[in-house]
Structure formats: structure tokens, C-alpha cells
């Protein structure tokens, strides 16, 4: 008989003893069967406990599905009695290329202490509901049913009253296995909610690389670093951020490579370099352009590479400063057909659209020609290279040295090294976080282009790449029927055919990108900049002209209005200004910590609009503290999942459910399924049957079907149009209809009821089978293969995902991976406007800003006119904020947010080591303790990234004084590749080189 709580508490008679075990159980089943209780063993003292050999219940494979990049370290995870006790690097990476060191062991101190984080004090174990004001810390535990009911009610109200787009999903990478993303992404898409673009949220978009290549997600495998003769560590601190891979730098150096570290501060990676090159924060473009000057002036450039791979031989009109286009010359000429000046024949020749192969043309890099336009006007045109040469005059080393603080002799020396050597630039996600990071990266790319340093082993630059998975096909599934794969493949092929019908010269990569550009309206993606502008209060901040670059001629609002009026961000302005967000679902992202200035801006402006804030997270983040409902989620060793797949490691890594989720935690897979079901139930109880998605269908989609439906489209209402277009493009995929029924959400989420909340394991099996079918992993690979091996190496990257195609290379079984070889070896064009690596951007805004060519501009005074520059970087001790309060790791440093400051600066300010100081600007202030460090550059303050706001006085972290400016040029659109698609072209907030002052607190 089960006793009630009260009975348990009451005293019983003295003559009875009752044993009641709830939390402990008899360990040996046979003993339990044969006898009620086990024999009592002889016990003398505690030492007896340790005489028994400790044996694991099991050893499983694990990894950490957090936004550590590249991550994907395979670990052995040791568990016993439902507890993970330790982990150890699995060390099972086979050697890939003969003569190149293997990747073993992979793993750092964070991975090695994760079991302690998992059981750390910040772990959430039960669903919580706020009962005091937001942020008051007053919570009650609630049942899952209570929590889901409350969320479902708020969602149903939002869906019918405002539209499903007012439900905003911010899925962060803090708990991001593939199935976390797929679960939440699928659920959001089925609802018709808004999913904020993760790259725009975290600011990991390498803008300059994108402007140059039409993509930024290409990277070599890190074992390819070994092939470099010159490694430029430039905007990266690999000794902090690439601990498992840093050995390749050392090994390359043993082999004879030279290692150069370029940074404002003498950071921990500098001590492992042959040469340290100091540079003023944010002035790297001047350094790069100084090097380019030397390379051009001394004719050290690889002319053939420049002619073939870049836009620099393309002719530019002197009168308009725009490329000479076929539309200038011919009546029906294409707007994206450009011209060379043939040096041999002295004639104007069309640059081929379908290949980079120059054929019989001999493009001139210098010279000029007069061209008659179709209106009879005659204009002079010159190769872009000539303009570049003129432009670089301003960056002679002595002049560049004035701008970047690097000695002129060193600039020359570096230029000579790069021109001579097989060069790889190790760039992280630092450059792109500067306001003018695009210019810095464009300058880096220029140096590589001039010297022919990409598309071959040991060369190139890099960005985030997450591909090599079948998420497009798996995510498009309506059923778990393996054969549906073929149907979906056909739909993708049909779409590709329609896209290519408009332009047969498009490459597979371009087609895939164009297809991806149609996706946001279907799946709900949106760049967050508009959400912040409309709903987060950033409009006011971004209109502070004095915090922008002086070359911004008009107000931010004027640019914004032009961009939206011209429909450059068509169907992406969500949630729309007139339909403010109602429900925020934050999943392991912590928007109040992550959004630059977010703790100030979002709490003040966004939070009051939100009817419900939900956090789905394993840990009590600052944002969770300000939420209404907090749902505990299974962590990395408590669920089967895959780490993001990335060619950086070339192995896909699996993590297994070593133990059940702690407390009442559930997986995101299960949470979304239960919520989908609950929404159906709650809507039914309110007599509601359907709701309408209000997002409009983009013109790109309409154009695709216009040929088949013709004028009929123009007579349709917006509702009918949406469904008709989608029904044509996606036959039978009613998942994307405009009007949706509440009672089908669960069925849709669960693949027609075939993969229900308890079927995560089956879903993974299907996922693996899809990935094998797409040619990504070897035939015969199963979930069991992952379970045994922990890792499986790619054999391909997939045919559907544009991010896979962005690599533009084949995966070879016995070689390191180097991207872009399809361009350099197979002569396949780049996905840019000019179909070449593009250094000249003739968009009106770029011309107006003087940024048609890579140039240098000083940091704007973001925050006001103050003498210090606050910079940052990923820290050594944590991946974002996940390890920041872990005691084991925090005992290896000060264990608190620390501001690094140059001792000479400190002396002038009367600041001593360890002092609490106040850092302030016109936007906000924060307080932190100072660590005096001669490695910090004078005038520089360094606060490494991702401390939790609650670790600072008044919960004001260093993020709070970052105004979160976005560069106006990144609102540009309607131009070749300067158009949004997932993770790509969009504004993102700058957070480096913030203007501040510092004083004793």
C-alpha cells in the first residue's frame, strides 16, 4: 500500500519498523527475487568500499552538441548506476592521408569536464513556471502537462489573433545536436512561426568572404593546415579556440611551415608563432591592402589566376563606375553578362557565363578601351584591375603603416612571404564582428587571390560550414516511409529544372542557392535584424549617425526604407511591424546574453510585447531567468544525436544516451511532439479548427510557376495564390499550405504518426538511412555503426544542400579536404553576380560609400567619443556560457569575468591589478575586475566572450554597453549574390572595437 505524504510524516507505533525505499533499489535482481533484502556484507571501515573494483555499467560514445567549432570530438562516456562519471577522448580517428598526422586525440578540457557541467548547479530538472515578476527568481515547479497547456494556449491565441508568424523561435546552438535543430525547426515550420536565422543571431557570418565568393561556408579540413608553407593566424586565437586542432599548426611548423600571428594583442597563440605582426584593432584592411600594394607594384601576382578566377579583368565603365554589361550594349543583352578586354586582339569579349575557362580569350588586366553603347553613346572602360592598382596607391606600405600601426618593412616582408608561399589564412569569427569586418575580409581575400592561394592544398581562408547531412530531404518528409526519399528527390530535381529553365548557364551550386532563397516563406526563416529593428528598439540606436561610419551619407532609416521599398528583403520582414511578436521560444540560445546590447534593449522594448517567453534549455541561463516557462531538456549524454556535420573534421560524430535525462528533462523531439498535440487539443476545446499563415508568397516563387499557370495567377487572391503556387511546385506537400488545421499539427510533426514522441531512435535510423542514400556516408552505415564507432567519415557532402555545394570540392578517401577546387580545377563559376571571385561591387550603395573595391575605414565610434577600444574573442575556458560557472574549469583561471588591460594605461588611470573598474560609454556601463596584461595593446581592453550577465554587478555584462550596430551596406540587395538565403547575406551586429572609457569603480 502506498502511503500518502502525510502518513509518511506521522509517527507510527513503537513496535513496528517499516522499510520504504523510493530512491534506492536493490542492485542485484537475483537477490531481490530470492530474498526480499540482500545479505549484509561484513563492513569494518570506509576502506572496505574501495576494495571493490569499480565497474562501469556501460561505455558509450559521446560528443558535445554545442556551438564549439568545429567540435565533433568523439569521447568514450563511462556510466554506472544512471550517472555519467567521466569521459575520455576516444582517439579513434584513422589517418586519412599518408604523411599527414591523424586527428587524434581530439578533445579539450571543456569536453573532459562536461560530465561535471551536466551535473552542475545550474542544471534545470523540472518544468518551471514564473510566479513573480519576470526576472524576480520566483518559480514554482509545474507538471509537463501544465506547462504545455499554458504554452499551447498562448500559441493558439497568437495564431488566431495575430498570426503564427508572431510566434518566434530563437534556436540557439547551446544544445544543438542535429535533432535539436530538426525538431524545433520542423515544429516551427509546421506552425508557420518565424524562425530567426541563427547566423544573424550569433553573428558568425563572414560578410567579406561572402561578398567575394558569393558564399562564405567553405573551409579546409583542419588536417589540411599541415600542407601550408605559411600559416597566417589572422583574426583567430587557436590556442584558445581550436585546442583539438592546434597540433596541426605545430606539426606544419615541424615540417617547415612558417607561422605568423597577426593580432592587436600578443594573444596566447602568438607565442607559438615565428613572427608576431601587431595591428591596430579594426585596421586589418589597411594591412591587407598594403600587402596587396606590394604584390601588385612588384608584379608578384599570379596573373593567370587573377584573370581566370576573379572579376579583376572585367571591364568597368569610367563614366558610371559600373561594370560594362551586355544590357549596355545589346537590346536584349543580359544584365549579368560582363566583358573582358582581349589583350591580344584589343577587342571587347564576353566573359563566359558557364565556365571560368578563358578559352581563346586573353583578358587584359590593364589598359583601356572605348565602347559604343546601344544608345550610341561611347564610353571608356578599363579592367577592374586597373582601378585596383590606382586604388592601392593609397596603401603603399608607408601609408598603410600609418593606418594600421604595422611597420612598413613588416608589411613588405609579409607580402613577399605570401607571394612566395603556399598560404593559409586561419580566420575565426572575429573579423566579421567588426563594423568594417567585411572590408578586412575582402582585403584578406584579395591578398590570397593575387597570389593564387586557394583551391589547392594548404591554402585558402575559411568560414563556418555545416553540411554533409540529409536535412533537406529528411526535413521535407511527410512520412517515415523510406521510399518517400525518391519522391522528395524528384521534387528537388523538378524545382532545379524550373530554376535552370530560366537560365541554363546556372551551376548546380547557383541553382541550389536560388532554391534555398525560396525557402524562408515556406519554412519561416527570417534574418533577425528586422525583428530587432521593428520590435527590439534598435531602430533608435541604429539611427545614431555619429556611431556609424562617416561615409554613410544618409540616415539609417533612409537606407532601411529604400531597401524595403525596393523589396530587397521580400517576405523576410517578420514578424511584421503591424503583427508584433507574441510568444518567444528560446532554445538554448539565451537571447538576453547573446544579443549585443540585448539585456538593455530587449528587456526594455521586446519583453513587454511578449505574452509568453518560453526557454527550453538544460541550464538556467540569464534568459531563462527572465522567462515565463522554463522546460528542462536532455543534455548531450542523455539522448542519441549527431553533432553538426562539418567538413572541418570530415567525420560525423555521434552521441548516445548513456543515461536517462536527469529529473524530468525531455528531448526537444518529444517536447515538440507533445506541444503539437496539446495545441490541437486546446484549439479544439476552444472550438477552433484552423488558422491562416499571413506571410506572403515571394515573387521568386510566383515567377517559377508563371510559365505553367500564366495569367491565371494575377486573378487569384493572396490566399489562393500561395496555395496554388506551392501546390504546383510541391505536389502533394500540403504541409506548406496557407490555411492550416490545428488538429493536423501533431500528425504532421510526427511524420503522419509514424515517428511519435517516443520514437527518436527510429527517427535517427531513418536519418542515417537517408544520409547513406544521398551518398554522404558509406553504404551499409547504420545507427549501430555510429553506436560502435562514434564517428563515420564522409564519402560525399550531399547533392541537395547548397552549403554542401559551397565547398565546391570532392571528398577523396585518402586526402585532406580543400574547398573551391571545382572552381580552380574544373573551372566552374562562383555563385556571385560576376560568377567570379568578386572584388569590385558596383551596387549603387557600395559606390556611394566608396566600398566598390576593398578599402580601409577606421572603426566608427560606436558608443561615443571615448579613448579605449573594447575587443573580445572566444575564451579558453568555456564554449559560450556553458562552462562559465563550472568549478573545475573556473579554478583554472580567475573564475570571474576579467578585463585585460595594458599596465601603462592602467597606471595613467590609477588602476591596479584586480581592481573593480567601471567601463562606460554613451550607451551603458558595466563593472568587472581588471587583470593587468602587457599582452594587451595600449588603448585596448579585452573582455573574453560569453560570461553570463548574472556574473556581473547588477547583471550588466560587457555585452550591455555594445550598441549592436549593423552596417547599413548590409541592407543592400537586389544585386546578384547580395540577396538573403539561410545563414547568408544579412545584417549582423558589430561588437568589436566598441568605444569606451574606464575608471576605478
Amino acid at each position: 500500500v502506498k502511503l500518502t505524504r502525510r502518513q509518511f510524516l506521522q509517527a507510527s507505533g513503537l513496535t513496528i519498523a517499516a522499510l520504504s525505499l523510493e530512491r534506492l533499489a536493490v542492485a542485484i535482481p537475483s537477490a531481490a527475487e530470492e530474498r526480499a533484502l540482500p545479505e549484509i556484507p561484513p563492513y569494518r571501515a570506509w576502506e572496505d568500499l574501495y576494495r571493490q573494483k569499480w565497474a562501469w555499467d556501460k561505455v558509450t560514445k559521446g560528443t558535445h552538441c554545442v556551438d564549439c567549432y568545429p567540435g565533433g570530438c568523439s569521447w568514450n562516456v563511462y556510466s554506472k548506476d544512471g550517472v555519467v562519471w567521466r569521459e575520455e577522448q576516444a582517439g579513434r580517428y584513422p589517418a586519412v592521408e599518408p604523411g599527414v598526422p591523424d586527428m587524434n586525440p581530439r578533445g579539450c578540457q571543456k569536453g573532459g569536464t562536461f560530465s561535471r557541467v551536466m551535473y552542475g548547479a545550474e542544471r534545470i530538472k523540472y518544468p518551471l513556471k514564473r510566479i513573480g515578476p519576470r526576472g524576480s527568481g520566483k518559480w514554482k515547479r509545474v507538471s509537463w502537462d501544465e506547462a504545455l497547456t499554458e504554452i499551447a494556449d498562448a500559441m493558439v491565441t497568437a495564431m488566431v489573433e495575430v498570426g503564427p508568424e508572431s510566434i518566434v523561435f530563437e534556436v540557439g546552438p547551446g544544445n544543438a545536436g542535429i535533432f535539436q535543430v530538426l525538431s524545433l525547426g520542423r515544429f516551427a515550420a509546421i506552425l508557420g512561426a518565424t524562425s530567426l536565422d541563427v547566423d544573424g543571431l550569433i553573428g558568425d557570418f563572414n560578410v567579406g568572404n561572402y561578398i567575394t565568393f558569393g558564399k562564405f561556408q567553405h573551409c579546409s579540413s583542419h588536417d589540411d593546415w599541415f600542407h601550408a608553407d605559411l600559416i597566417l593566424i589572422w583574426h583567430m586565437n587557436p590556442l584558445y579556440t581550436r585546442i583539438p586542432e592546434a597540433h596541426y599548426i605545430t606539426e606544419a611548423r615541424y615540417k617547415g611551415a612558417e607561422v605568423v600571428s597577426i593580432a592587436p594583442d600578443y594573444n596566447p597563440s602568438c607565442i607559438h608563432a615565428d613572427l608576431y605582426v601587431p595591428v591596430e584593432p579594426g585596421s586589418d584592411a589597411a594591412l591587407g591592402l598594403g600587402m596587396a600594394h606590394v604584390i601588385v607594384a612588384e608584379k608578384l601576382y599570379d596573373a593567370r589566376f587573377v584573370m581566370e578566377q576573379t572579376d579583376l579583368p572585367l571591364l568597368v565603365r569610367k563614366d558610371t563606375r559600373k561594370f560594362l554589361r551586355a544590357s549596355d550594349i545589346e537590346a536584349e543583352g543580359r544584365d549579368d553578362q560582363f566583358y573582358f578586354l582581349d589583350a591580344t586582339k584589343g577587342t571587347v569579349e564576353k566573359a563566359p557565363l558557364a565556365t571560368l575557362d578563358l578559352g581563346g580569350v586573353d583578358p587584359a588586366l590593364e589598359g583601356r578601351i572605348r565602347v559604343r553603347l546601344r544608345d550610341g553613346k561611347e564610353v571608356e572602360a578599363v579592367p577592374a584591375f586597373s582601378l585596383l592598382r590606382e586604388h592601392l596607391e593609397a596603401y603603399a606600405p608607408e601609408k598603410a603603416a600609418q593606418m594600421c600601426g604595422t611597420p612598413a618593412s613588416l608589411i613588405r616582408d609579409l607580402a613577399h612571404k605570401v607571394a612566395r608561399k603556399r598560404t593559409h589564412i586561419l580566420v575565426g569569427w572575429n573579423s566579421n564582428k567588426y563594423y568594417h569586418g567585411d572590408l578586412m575580409e575582402r582585403a584578406q581575400c584579395l591578398v590570397l587571390a593575387l597570389t593564387g592561394n586557394w583551391g589547392k592544398k594548404g591554402t585558402g581562408t575559411r568560414g563556418w560550414n555545416e553540411c554533409g547531412d540529409p536535412k533537406h530531404i529528411f526535413g521535407s518528409r511527410r512520412t517515415a516511409d523510406p521510399e518517400e526519399f525518391a519522391t522528395i528527390e524528384q521534387i528537388f530535381a523538378g524545382l532545379a529544372e524550373k530554376i535552370r529553365a530560366a537560365d541554363p548557364t546556372l551551376t548546380d551550386e547557383m541553382v541550389a542557392i536560388e532554391r534555398e532563397r525560396l525557402a524562408p516563406a515556406l519554412w519561416g526563416a527570417a534574418p533577425p535584424a528586422f525583428y530587432w529593428y521593428y520590435h527590439g528598439g534598435y531602430r533608435e540606436v541604429w539611427n545614431r549617425k555619429e556611431w556609424h561610419d562617416p561615409s554613410m551619407k544618409r540616415s539609417f532609416d533612409e537606407y532601411f526604407a529604400e531597401a524595403t521599398a525596393k523589396n530587397w528583403w521580400e517576405a523576410l520582414l517578420e514578424p511584421a511591424p503591424e503583427r508584433p511578436p507574441q510568444v518567444l521560444i528560446g532554445a538554448a540560445g539565451s537571447t538576453l546574453r547573446r544579443t549585443r546590447g540585448g539585456y538593455k534593449m530587449l528587456l526594455k522594448n521586446l519583453w513587454p510585447k511578449l505574452k509568453l517567453v518560453v526557454t527550453i534549455d538544460p541550464r538556467m541561463s540569464t534568459t531563462a531567468m527572465y522567462s515565463d516557462i522554463v522546460l528542462p531538456v536532455a543534455w548531450f549524454y542523455e539522448r542519441p544525436d549527431f553533432r553538426f556535420f562539418t567538413p572541418h573534421t570530415t567525420f560525423n560524430t555521434f552521441t548516445d544516451a548513456a543515461v536517462p535525462p536527469l529529473g524530468e528533462s525531455k528531448t526537444e523531439w518529444e517536447i515538440c511532439a507533445l506541444l503539437a498535440r496539446k495545441i490541437g487539443e486546446r484549439a479544439k476545446a476552444r472550438g477552433l479548427e484552423e488558422y491562416a499563415k499571413r506571410r506572403r508568397v515571394p515573387n521568386g516563387l510566383i515567377r517559377l510557376v508563371a510559365g505553367s499557370l500564366g495569367e491565371m495567377l494575377t486573378r487569384l487572391s493572396e490566399n489562393e495564390l500561395f496555395d496554388r503556387v506551392l501546390a504546383t511546385l510541391f505536389p502533394g506537400r500540403d504541409i506548406m499550405t496557407r490555411r492550416r488545421r490545428f488538429d493536423t499539427l501533431y500528425d504532421r510533426y510526427t511524420f503522419g504518426g509514424q515517428l511519435r514522441e517516443g520514437d527518436l531512435e527510429k527517427a535517427l535510423e531513418l536519418f542515417v538511412s537517408d544520409s547513406v542514400r544521398e551518398g554522404i556516408y558509406p553504404a551499409g552505415t547504420t545507427l549501430q555503426t555510429y553506436r560502435q564507432e562514434g564517428i563515420v567519415r564522409f564519402v560525399g557532402l550531399g547533392k541537395v544542400d547548397p552549403v554542401a555545394l559551397n565547398m565546391a570540392c570532392d571528398i577523396k578517401p585518402n586526402e585532406t579536404v580543400n574547398p573551391l577546387t571545382w572552381h580552380t580545377e574544373k573551372k566552374i563559376p562562383y555563385p556571385t553576380l560576376t560568377r567570379r571571385a568578386q572584388f569590385y561591387i558596383d551596387h549603387d550603395w557600395f559606390l556611394e560609400a566608396g566600398e566598390a573595391l576593398p578599402t580601409h575605414k577606421p572603426n566608427p565610434k560606436m558608443g561615443g567619443n571615448y579613448p579605449f577600444r573594447l575587443t573580445s574573442g572566444h575564451q579558453r575556458w568555456s564554449i559560450h556560457s556553458i562552462w562559465v560557472v563550472n568549478k573545475v574549469v573556473s579554478h583554472t583561471h580567475q573564475g570571474r569575468p576579467t578585463l585585460f588591460m595594458n599596465p601603462d594605461d592602467a597606471k595613467k588611470k590609477g588602476i591596479h591589478d584586480g581592481d573593480l573598474v567601471k567601463v562606460r560609454n554613451d550607451f551603458e556601463s558595466f563593472r568587472a575586475h581588471v587583470k593587468l596584461a602587457p599582452s594587451a595593446r595600449p588603448g585596448q581592453l579585452i573582455m573574453y566572450h560569453a560570461w553570463e550577465p548574472y556574473q556581473f554587478p547588477d547583471w550588466k555584462s560587457y555585452d550591455v554597453l555594445i550598441p549592436g550596430m549593423v552596417k547599413w551596406l548590409h541592407l543592400a540587395g537586389g544585386y546578384g549574390h547580395l540577396r538573403y538565403w539561410r545563414w547568408n547575406w544579412q545584417p549582423q551586429q558589430a561588437d568589436r572595437a566598441i568605444a569606451v572609457d574606464v575608471e576605478p569603480a
Partner: protein
């Protein structure tokens, strides 16, 4: 699992049963409070129960039963919320976690030590509990088990030495080691009288019981 031993005859047997019973009641008192517990605190049921059992212990607990053991506030919601704030969640963790390992230098070592105790006596954490071995309720339940088995041994005329020594050591290495530290934090964190009073009662009991077990063990083989 529930097992009863009836017909406890000797004072020793009854006193041991009282010790076992008290650990069980405390495990329930420290567990997440439902409305029933809240009412039992406020109407004095819990305090009365503690007092009654304490009266049957083989040693006195002077001043342990205080009026504050009834003072859980007026509202269950506030009481629950205070429990969550103190013991469950907070920035960088709650201020006074109920996990012993948090107060030790090495959490894992503490959990391992507790698990070794459980395993030595052929126990393990209940698989569907999804709780950790160093939680106060688990540790109290283990003491409840040891003292129950001691009662059984005494009734059956077996030597309880192993059990007494294990009780002594488990208290020394766990409850008596970390609960005082938790109490120090609690003092700074809450104005609600009940919780500090409950911890004080528990601490007085742990210390007295450790002394008793230690002494009793010396008379065993």
C-alpha cells in the same frame, strides 16, 4: 519497496526503529514540498511527529524541536517558490543546493563515495528516479535503510556491527560533513523560519546519531 518488521520487543530494537523512522521522515520533509507537506508543517503534524520519534531515540535531542518547525509561511505557493529558489534553480545555481557534492572539493568523488556505500550494501539509485546519489533525500533514505537493517539484525539476534560502522562512516563522510555548510548558506539566504529549523533538527540528530553509532559499534564484533 515496503517491508515491515512487527513485534519489536526490546528497547534497543524500538530505539533503532525510531532512528530508522526519523531518517525516513526527514527524507520526506526535505523532498520537494507538496501541499500536503505544507499543511503538515503548518498544522504541527510534522513537528509533532519529529518530537514523538525523537522521544524514542536512544539519546536526547535537547532543544531540537522548536516552534519554528511550524512556521512555513501563509501561502503554499510562496513556500514552494522559496524551496525552488533556495534549492533548485538560480543564477549559477541555487544558493543552497541539497547535493552534498556541491559542498565538497570534488563533486564526483563525493558522488562516487556515496555510490560505493550504496553498492557495497547491494543498493543502487532507483533507475526511474533520475536523481543523483548525493541528494539529501537519497542519503537520508540510505541511512533509513541501514538503520532498518540494524533493527532487523537486532531482532534476529545478529551482530549489527557492520551496519553501525557503516552508519557512523556514512554520516561522517556525508551528512555530517556537508549539511552544516548548507546550513551556513541557508542562514544568509532565507527569512522563512521552517527550513533552518528543520536543518537544525536534522543536524542535531545526525551528530547525536553518529556518536551513538560510533559508540555502539565499539561493543560489536
Amino acid at each position: 519497496m515496503t517491508i515491515e518488521i512487527a513485534n519489536l520487543r526490546t528497547g534497543e530494537e524500538q530505539a533503532t526503529a525510531a532512528r530508522s523512522r526519523l531518517y525516513q521522515v526527514l527524507a520526506n520533509a526535505f523532498a520537494f514540498p507538496d501541499q500536503e507537506l505544507f499543511e503538515a508543517i503548518r498544522d504541527g503534524t510534522l513537528a509533532q511527529s519529529l518530537a514523538q520519534i525523537a522521544a524514542s531515540l536512544p539519546y536526547p535531542l535537547p532543544d531540537a524541536i522548536r516552534p519554528q518547525l511550524r512556521e512555513a509561511g501563509d501561502s503554499y505557493v510562496d513556500f514552494e517558490s522559496e524551496y525552488v529558489r533556495l534549492f533548485d534553480v538560480g543564477p549559477a545555481g541555487p544558493p543552497c543546493p541539497l547535493y552534498g557534492g556541491v559542498y565538497a572539493g570534488d563533486r564526483m568523488r563525493t558522488m562516487e563515495d556515496a555510490t560505493r556505500f550504496y553498492n557495497f550494501f547491494d543498493l543502487r539509485i532507483a533507475p526511474d528516479l533520475r536523481e543523483l546519489p548525493d541528494h539529501i533525500t537519497t542519503e537520508l533514505e540510505f541511512m533509513h535503510y541501514l538503520t532498518f537493517r540494524e533493527t532487523e539484525a537486532r531482532q534476529q539476534g545478529h551482530d549489527p556491527g557492520s551496519l553501525l560502522r557503516a552508519e557512523r562512516d556514512f554520516l561522517s563522510r556525508h551528512l555530517c560533513r556537508w549539511v552544516p555548510r548548507m546550513r551556513e548558506r541557508l542562514a544568509k539566504q532565507t527569512t522563512l523560519p521552517f527550513l533552518p529549523a528543520l536543518v537544525d533538527f536534522a543536524l542535531a540528530f545526525f551528530e547525536a546519531d553518529r556518536a551513538y553509532a560510533s559508540q555502539a559499534a565499539e561493543h560489536c564484533s
